[in-house]
């Protein structure tokens, strides 16, 4: 057995474990393209968008031009990249802002994916190319005011009326609701939970903006009201019945989030690292203090570990060996890590840490939503708990 000597080398504080070496040229080029886009189009204005509470809708077409929307889906105008590339794109988008990444997750994984996976050929032809092009914006209506972690308890109902379907109920916390042209709405039917493609200009459909958010402000969050919304018989997604429909969408989106969270954390770490090197107190840079170094090192470890987990799970997804519980592991740990990193970074920046001049408090607030949506930290804990003990502790 030959043994390679370990030699001291220069380390890269931003890619400490050299995770880049695990990526192909193609994946790196996709990553760098999104990184450049975020630097050009998101970072200069994101502080203002957050403060003003707006999502710049014009970004949709620009992102579509690159192939970002539904990028990991095949055919119908989608780019058809591998899962690792999709994940890396999410990392870069969320380095910019969780709201921008949320938009892309919802469009690709929550609105396009169910049509792609469970739709009829006509539905796919009709919707997917326009959604990939950013001409049609989608949203995903699962959660209700009284039905969050337990979506099976939803009260929105679809009933047959001749050939038509008639939907009644309401959905809450729906990302992109007010800017969407189409909503994929999940509702109870006599057969079980089913998905419906609802054009948002259908009579009886209204979207109400949720105001006073202190998180994901550069993202639109809405309530959807369905009041006798009449849809033709072919509006239902034919190929899935039951909760596994929406849950399989969530798995796709959660996969993007476990990569995305690492991006938000990296932005906070970079800000803290550079600030700590420049800010002087007691005549020395604050990076000289052991307490500060410890914070920076904890961030470094969390981010590198998170990225390794993400790339590993990405490879498993591309191999077809990824289990939904693996996604729970990644979502739970990476988002928790990112939130801790953001809070530590916030403290390193002192008073400056509370302003939008730096990205940190914005990410910190955003990550509170990311912690809750797509399965709360607690729900993923219970999924993992059930996976290893065989005991359901949900209720």
């Amino acid at each position: 057995m030959s043994e390679k000597a370990m030699r001291p080398r220069k380390v890269d504080p931003l890619d400490f474990l050299e995770v880049d070496a695990l990526l192909t040229d193609e994946e790196l080029l996709i990553r760098d393209t999104v990184r450049q886009f975020v630097a050009d189009r998101v970072l200069p204005d994101i502080g203002d968008w957050f403060e003003d509470g707006v999502f710049p809708k014009e970004l949709a077409k620009e992102m579509a031009a690159m192939g970002l929307l539904g990028m990991h889906l095949d055919g119908y105008g989608c780019a058809g990249t591998n899962s690792v590339s999709y994940g890396l794109a999410c990392t870069e988008l969320e380095y910019g802002d969780s709201g921008v990444r949320s938009f892309v997750s919802v469009q690709g994984s929550l609105a396009m994916f169910p049509i792609w996976a469970f739709g009829s050929e006509e539905q796919k032809q009709d919707w997917l190319p326009r959604m990939a092009a950013g001409e049609v914006i989608g949203c995903f209506g699962l959660t209700e005011a009284d039905s969050g972690s337990d979506p099976g308890s939803m009260r929105t109902r679809a009933r047959r009326d001749g050939d038509d379907w008639v939907l009644n109920g309401s959905k809450m916390w729906i990302t992109s609701g007010n800017i969407a042209d189409v909503a994929v709405v999940w509702a109870q039917t006599d057969e079980g939970i089913r998905g419906f493609i609802v054009p948002t200009d259908t009579k009886g459909f209204t979207a109400n903006l949720i105001h006073k958010k202190l998180s994901l402000r550069a993202s639109v969050t809405s309530e959807l009201v369905l009041d006798d919304v009449r849809l033709p018989g072919d509006a239902v997604l034919p190929d899935v019945v039951g909760l596994k429909g929406p849950l399989s969408c969530l798995n796709e989106a959660r996969f993007g989030i476990l990569f995305g969270a690492v991006g938000a954390a990296r932005a906070c770490y970079e800000a803290a690292l550079s600030y700590a090197g420049e800010r002087r107190q007691f005549d020395v840079p604050i990076a000289s203090f052991q307490l500060t170094q410890r914070k920076l090192v904890e961030m470094l470890i969390g981010i590198n570990r998170g990225m390794l987990v993400a790339v590993h799970l990405g490879r498993k997804k591309d191999d077809g060996t990824l289990d939904p519980t693996h996604v729970s592991f990644g979502k739970l740990d990476n988002v928790r890590m990112a939130l801790q990193v953001a809070r530590e970074a916030r403290s390193v920046l002192g008073a400056n840490g509370i302003t939008l001049e730096y990205p940190v408090v914005r990410h910190m607030n955003n990550l509170e939503s990311v912690y809750t949506y797509e399965g709360t930290n607690e729900i993923h804990t219970l999924i993992l708990g059930q996976a290893i003990t065989g005991i359901n502790a949900f209720s």
Binding site: E26, L29, T33, G67, G80
Partner: protein, 253 residues
Amino acid sequence: MKIAVCAKQIPDPATPYQLDPTTHYVVRPNDQVLDDTDRYGIEVGLQLAAAAGDASVTVFSMSPSGSLQGIRQALAMGADKAVIVDDAGLRGADALTTARILAAAIEREGFDVVIAGTESTDGYTGVVPQQIAELLGVPSLTFARKIDRHGDGIRIERQTSNGYDVVDANPPLLISVTSGAVEPRYPTFKGIMQAKSKPVETVTAADLGVEVAAGQSIAAVEPVPARQAGEIVTDEGDAFERIVALLEQVKVI
């Protein structure tokens, strides 16, 4: 229409350049990126090709191939193929040698329009495009800040120090494009995935029938002198007069 775009792979400007201590040449790592200024030329090429309809865009580059990262970026933006002149004998080639090589490669392929940036980010000689035009015997439309099709030909606005000239010419011709002339597109993901299967031809100077003779050597390299401390003008009511005087002294007003 056959469009030739000259583009260079350079060491990533984000990491500090290293010079070989004996030859003083830039040390070229295996991974080199597309020179940012070339993204404009490629964009112009792609736009002209789209407008012309039946057109091809070929990227010409003289550089060690390395991982081809920079060339793939150009192909991912939409160029159809690339020709790389990779020849150990060309290391440290001067501007005229570079122009002779590129002109020979372009001529061999055939062309209607040659496009180049105005100067590279690592070499900054700023003369290669004009030399290529001269060697190919075609008009050079330099420092283009705007490029349009005009009848059968091309019309550009040439950036000058106090405005711009409008210059027309019919192909074959060469255009040198200023940074900012167009908004370079981001590579598309489909383009990135297709780039791998696009043809990249690697040739040597001998393949092109160009004899390389060292025309220059770099005698010495000096670090930029440290900046002198500035002069601080404290306002005692007459600061503006003293600042005006200082500005006149350095002849900026």
